[in-house]
């Protein structure tokens, strides 16, 4: 140990408006590096959605009729937005598990003992998860194009769709942050993720037209589900069949799906960002 270690403290940069962004970016890079260190994790996280695309397209494809869209690829065009949304909803579980792991390993304590902004660690985590899921989305989209899914309504609407989808993923990630900071172990974080995300995505129009759900109350739940709004918005923006062809009237949230989806995502962010930052401040291992 040289006496240099004991020299006066290194001046610590003071906070500015850009400090939060800087800190969050450092944490993001740290989380992304983990993906490059464990490429198998990235591979597995994209294998599952690919399997979903293939299984649904080829196994259920013939069995689930989509009104107003006949032909071999009709169900696939209907299906892909659903699979995108479902897969990206699981961003929440990714975030939960990542944070629970950091908490368990004492890294959150380390971060909390540093003079960094309270939201930087969470922002860094959600941003890294978001980027990972962007990658997964690209893989899924390519896979979808191969099995016959198409975007039919031009570039602008296509981009708007992807924006809505990734905003939804980001919102889900912040729900996951609250869950991850509330449980004690990675296993619990994982299990809890499955317990709420599966019903959330299945009680929707993601895989079957919501019109076919019964009893009626189930249909109502599905109609108001943020997942349904997002899926419907994507089908609408991308010109994919939505299963409402020939229906007398669309339910209100489905008719205004784009705005409803946007509203849900913004609402979730507005509630869960402050909630998770508060949890982070007082979290104890």
């Amino acid at each position: 140990m040289s006496s240099d270690t004991l020299a006066p403290p290194v001046p610590v940069g003071s906070g500015g408006p850009l400090t939060v962004l800087h800190d969050a970016w450092v944490v993001t890079l740290r989380n992304l590096r983990r993906m490059t260190r464990m490429p198998e994790m990235v591979v597995f996280s994209s294998i599952q959605p690919i399997m979903f695309v293939l299984l649904f397209a080829f196994v259920f494809g013939g069995a689930i009729p989509v009104p107003g869209a006949e032909g071999k690829t009709a169900y696939r065009e209907f299906l892909l937005p659903g699979i995108f949304v479902q897969t990206l909803a699981f961003t929440a579980a990714t975030t939960s598990v990542g944070l629970a792991d950091d908490l368990h390993k004492g890294l959150i304590d380390r971060f909390r003992s540093l003079p960094i902004s309270r939201s930087a660690v969470l922002a860094g985590r959600t941003t890294a998860d978001w980027l990972q899921n962007l990658f997964v989305l690209v893989v899924m989209a390519v896979c979808g194009l191969i099995v016959g899914w198409r975007i039919n309504d031009g570039v602008l609407k296509a981009v708007a769709g992807f924006f809505l989808l990734m905003l939804f993923a980001y919102a889900m990630s912040w729900i996951g942050a609250v869950v991850g900071l509330s449980v004690r172990t990675v296993e619990t974080a994982n299990t809890i993720g499955f317990i709420w995300i599966f019903p959330l995505t299945f009680l929707s129009n993601a895989f079957v037209p919501a019109r076919t759900l019964s009893p009626q109350w189930l249909q109502n739940v599905a109609d108001w589900n943020p997942v349904s709004a997002t899926v419907q918005a994507l089908r609408h923006l991308w010109g994919n069949p939505d299963g409402y062809a020939g229906a007398a009237k669309m339910p209100w949230p489905i008719e205004h799906a784009t705005w409803v989806s946007l509203f849900w995502s913004v609402l979730i962010l507005a509630v869960f960002i402050p909630l998770s930052v508060r949890k982070y401040r007082s979290v104890s291992t």
Partner: protein, 338 residues
């Protein structure tokens, strides 16, 4: 003004219907003068980690106040964080990052800038003899290496006040002694250090003053010498062959010791605080021999935390089973295998 001050700290856990309330801290007062080392000595569950977490702004106390270099830990947490380094009870290193990346990340989070962070990381890796392993993911590190990396991370900005929570628990003896040298080196230049430990020997070796904690309370404090004077120096430990002569031997040895002899019937063991070292050991054996009491085993050993507790509270350590004992224990063979 002391560098670290605490007054009447209270922290209560639980207390709802399911869990019984635990007073992890029950009115703790501490004062660590600048440039000195305080050893917080206590068994598992005594409240050491809780105290460290309060002092490092990670946990809000339920009552009392604490400050670091005059800054209140509850009201000025960010300023406090600029001045402290923390190495927690379990090494908090990112396993997926290399040792170097871990340190650079911490430097950048202190806003030291890319180059300065890299330079400082290299310096620390060198000082902690981690240079060879610097560019390996830290999940491949042994327990001792992780611990050193974690300590290095606490020193990135050369903080004037450092907290180390059980820095050597779970390390094998060789690594422990190396760690002691590292820690002793820290304070030479005026750093203030609060260190928790379960080992009296460690506190004795490193700390300028010691506070003994039990059930969230400080039950004794003073320099190592003062404490030792209170509890007596070494212990003479003798196992007699014949159980029927146990009390006779105890009486004889009691006269030679500085305190009361304790008898453990089932092991036929007698423990007496003594002063006088090896010479006394020889005369004890002689006197026992003179009256014809045969012995199976004899040892002169330094007092341990158990002895402190026996002396101070009249009962043995009743600490909780160590929650992290298993993972730490797993690391040891790795360290030994290197």
């Amino acid at each position: 003004m002391a560098a670290i001050e605490a007054e009447g700290l209270v922290k209560i856990y639980g207390g709802n219907k399911k869990a019984k309330e635990v007073r992890a801290l029950d009115g703790v007062d501490l004062a660590v003068p600048e440039g000195t080392i305080l050893g917080l000595l206590g068994p598992n569950g005594a409240g050491k980690t809780t105290a460290v977490r309060v002092l490092t702004t990670l946990l809000r106390p339920d009552a009392g106040r604490a400050s670091v270099l005059g800054l209140d830990v509850v009201r000025k947490p960010t300023q406090v964080r600029r001045l402290i380094g923390l190495s927690g009870q379990y090494a908090a290193v990112d396993e997926n990052l290399t040792g170097r990346e871990n340190l650079v990340m911490v430097g950048r989070l202190y806003h030291m800038g890319k180059e300065a962070s890299a330079k400082r990381a290299a310096e620390l890796l060198e000082e902690f003899t981690l240079t060879d392993a610097a560019d390996r993911p830290s999940k491949t590190y042994s327990g001792g290496m992780r611990r050193r990396l974690d300590l290095a991370a606490a020193l990135v900005v050369k903080p004037p006040v450092i907290f180390l929570d059980e820095p050597t628990t779970g390390l094998d003896p060789r690594t422990r002694i190396a760690m002691w040298d590292v820690i002793a080196g820290l304070v030479k230049g005026g750093t203030t250090l609060l260190l928790t430990t379960q080992y009296l020997e460690e506190a004795d070796r490193l700390a300028d003053s010691i506070a003994v904690v039990d059930h969230g309370k400080v039950i004794a404090r003073g320099t190592a010498d003062e404490l030792k004077a209170q509890i007596g120096g070494e212990r003479l430990q003798i196992v007699v062959s014949d159980r029927t002569r146990l009390s006779e031997a105890a009486e004889l040895l009691g006269r030679m010791g500085t305190g009361e002899a304790r008898v453990q019937d089932q092991n036929r063991e007698i423990l007496v605080p003594v002063s006088g070292g090896a010479q006394l050991l020889v005369s004890a054996i002689r006197e026992l021999d003179a009256v014809g009491i045969a012995i199976d085993d004899v040892a002169l050993r330094r007092p341990t935390l158990d002895d402190v507790f026996l002396q101070l509270t009249g009962r043995a350590v009743e600490g909780e089973p160590e929650p992290g004992a298993e993972p730490e224990a797993e690391m040891e063979p790795q360290e030994a295998a290197r």
